[in-house]
């Protein structure tokens, strides 16, 4: 990760040095996820694409681009062209802005006539989305419309049939309705972005007249960063954990010195109120499925005393894990990651102390660090960094905190049993293993794109690709959901095998690390072999492609009883299993066909 490309960044520096930054990213590149992005522009896109590439590469996505000829967005989307068709975009970004509105209302025009214009303008866009979606089945990202720089009618541009801002607002609402009802379609909110940037600075008219850029060249980094956040989120690159310092982060003052009565939190003082606002903001992230942990230099009992402050909003139970001790924070973060079965790269560490932040940056460069001076700045930085950008919120997301808390209870229970098998039996586990259910496709895609460790091929799918796999008769698909007496873990394992005659080739085998060492993988292979037999498969082939992160499944197929048939120089291995010679594995899980049975 290049710190120059992490929020908060210096946009001018990025614009000036983008060639050098790209070179550095390419030099350090390892195992990024490739992604084909078509940029269909209604204005110039060149630097937007160049800077977008920097931000995506910095988060582990290696894009290739198709760029429309100048302002050919509509022709490309509706009719395609050989180059675009051959490119087969996985993501199509329609870069239009208010300047691309073809029929604007005229002063004095009546309501009916303006509404007709609105319908025609909107229909143009919906036709493009339908065409792209039918032809490529790709993810579509569409800019909404920003406010114009001039207002002929002043404030009367709103609340008036022929007001232009009124028109833009209505058009935007129609875009949002479509977004609500269509999967794989996302709005890039440049209306917000331009307002936050400052509308006057955004509309640098010189840059429109000289270069036909829809916004000031200086605003391009902000624009591309915001766009990169949507793409990263769709590709499962969101961060998962907020690891928080306590003293002067979640409250003002030092709990060990000042005591519970002395720290600043709550309605009584101005400072207390600002920390309260921060606690409220952080707690809201739990609803997005973000895990909260504490990483603080404190005695544990003092940390709890602070978190139990009667006026505080964050309580000890809101945290998946609390590390309060006097060890180095980088060490604590590593331990937290390993106890939650997550990678340090999933963490955002928040601390007011620049020294602690620098140590973490140096020791664990994969952790994103947010350093701040006051609570207002902290809220702004977490909000604007976009590392928790929401594109699809699954039902499991809101429950994730509970799931991890249940994991901690399981770990405590494990210690009480003489053998591991006794412990497994005591968990009263039951699993539903079966075909992909359409309502679960978003979660299946999300899990597929963010699983790195227990993942044999690390193959990634867009939601549209996953839908097409789900509908094809060429595959055997399994998804597994695991419940035990401590709680529901949700969908935790996904397997996709492609049928070729009497052979089944396993394209995807993954499991959430939340349920390691529970025997769920054995339940899955037992079921896969049963399904293979039903489909007259004789041999199942497994593939392991090593990455920096998936060493734990190097021997998985061997453990299942497969025989290794080849090993390439890069470490790729191929495994085969004779279906009729398979001995089912012992599992301690009660297996059901579906939620009812």
């Amino acid at each position: 990760m290049l710190s120059e490309l992490c929020y908060p960044f210096d946009g001018d520096e990025i614009m000036t040095k983008k060639k050098k930054l790209l070179r550095l990213l390419k030099e350090n590149e390892s195992g990024g996820v490739p992604l084909r992005i078509a940029v269909l522009g209604g204005s110039t896109t060149s630097d937007i694409v160049k800077v977008l590439e920097l931000f995506l590469r910095n988060r582990g996505i290696v894009p290739t681009f198709y760029e429309s000829e100048y302002a050919q967005y509509q022709n490309d989307a509706l009719f395609g062209n050989p180059e675009l068709d051959a490119f087969k975009p996985e993501v199509a970004f329609i870069h239009t802005c208010s300047r691309n509105i073809e029929e604007k209302p005229i002063v004095g025009e009546d309501e009916k006539s303006v509404s007709d214009k609105l319908e025609r303008e909107y229909a143009r866009y919906e036709r493009m989305w339908t065409a792209l979606s039918e032809k490529f089945g790709c993810v579509i990202i569409q800019n909404n419309f920003e406010l114009p720089s001039e207002r002929l009618l002043g404030s009367r541009e709103v609340g008036c049939a022929y007001g232009r801002i009124d028109f833009i607002t209505r058009l935007n609402c129609k875009l949002y309705d479509y977004a609500q009802n269509h999967a794989n379609f996302y709005i890039h909110d440049i209306n917000y972005l331009s307002a936050a940037y400052g509308l006057e600075k955004w509309h640098e008219l010189r840059h429109w007249h000289l270069y036909k850029y829809a916004m000031s060249v200086s605003a391009i980094p902000e624009f591309s960063y915001s766009l990169s956040n949507i793409i990263c989120s769709v590709m499962g690159k969101n961060k998962k954990v907020l690891a928080l310092d306590l003293d002067n982060t979640l409250w003002g003052g030092v709990i060990g010195d000042d005591g519970q009565a002395g720290i600043e939190i709550g309605h009584e003082t101005h400072e207390g109120q600002s920390y309260l606002a921060l606690q409220k903001f952080i707690k809201a992230h739990k609803e997005l499925g973000v895990l909260l942990t504490v990483c603080s230099k404190n005695d544990p009992e003092n940390a709890l005393e602070g978190l139990n402050h009667p006026d505080g909003i964050l309580k000890p139970s809101d945290f998946a894990l609390i590390k309060a001790n006097w060890n180095e924070k980088s060490l604590n973060l590593e331990e937290t990651a390993s106890e939650l079965n997550l990678l340090p790269e999933s963490f955002v560490f928040v601390d007011d102390n620049p020294v602690e932040c620098d140590i973490v940056k140096a020791q664990l460069p994969e952790v994103t660090v947010i350093n701040f001076e006051n609570p207002e700045e902290c809220i702004r930085d977490i909000d604007k960094c976009g590392l928790f950008e929401v594109t699809n919120l699954s039902a499991d997301d809101a429950k994730r905190g509970e799931m991890y808390a249940a994991n901690a209870q399981r770990a405590a229970a494990e210690k009480k049993f003489a053998t591991y098998e006794e412990f497994l039996a005591s968990l009263e586990m039951s699993a539903v293993i079966g075909e992909f259910d359409p309502v679960h496709i978003p979660r299946i895609t999300q899990l597929t794109n963010k699983s790195n460790q227990f993942n044999c091929t690390t193959k990634r799918y867009t939601q549209a690709e996953m839908e097409s796999v789900a509908q094809s008769s060429n595959y055997i698909r399994l998804c597994g959901r695991l419940t035990d007496k401590f709680g529901d873990n949700g969908i935790v394992s996904v397997v996709i095998g492609e049928k070729r005659g009497a052979e089944l080739h396993i394209d995807l085998w993954l499991m959430s690390c939340r349920v390691l060492k529970r025997g769920m993988e054995y339940a899955m292979i037992n079921r896969l072999v049963e399904e293979a037999k039903k489909a007259d498969i004789k041999t199942v082939y497994g593939y392991y492609y090593p990455t920096k992160k998936n060493a734990m499944v190097k021997e998985l197929f061997g453990d299942f009883g497969f025989t290794k048939i080849s090993e390439a120089e890069n470490g790729n291995t191929v495994w085969a299993l004779d279906v009729n010679a398979y001995t089912p594995k012992t599992v301690y899980i009660d297996i059901k066909e579906n939620d009812n049975g």
Binding site: D12, M15, T16, K19, D47, L210, Y213, V217, S218
Partner: protein
């Protein structure tokens, strides 16, 4: 800032934009002399120069500049006014 200082600072900007630590420019340098200096990179270059010298070119200047010498002349002119 005198002409020599301006040329030195401008050289740094060129080196950053074209990511070439050994790039040398002279008053006669034109877009033809630097392989990657096309119309799109021209935009980045102009923006970078504007930021580095805390000034703005007029639209006429942006489209009218023929070589680095003319750019330096404009920068010298603006420096005098400050």
């Amino acid at each position: 800032m005198d002409k020599q200082k301006i040329t030195e600072r401008l050289t740094e900007v060129f080196r950053d934009v074209f990511d070439d630590e050994e790039l040398e420019i002279s008053e006669e340098t034109t877009a033809d002399d630097i392989e990657e200096w096309d119309s799109l990179e021209h935009i980045s270059l102009i923006s970078a120069v504007e930021k580095a010298f805390k000034m703005r070119f007029t639209m006429k200047e942006v489209s009218g500049m023929k070589n680095v010498g003319e750019m330096i002349d404009i920068l010298c002119e603006r420096a005098k006014k400050c």
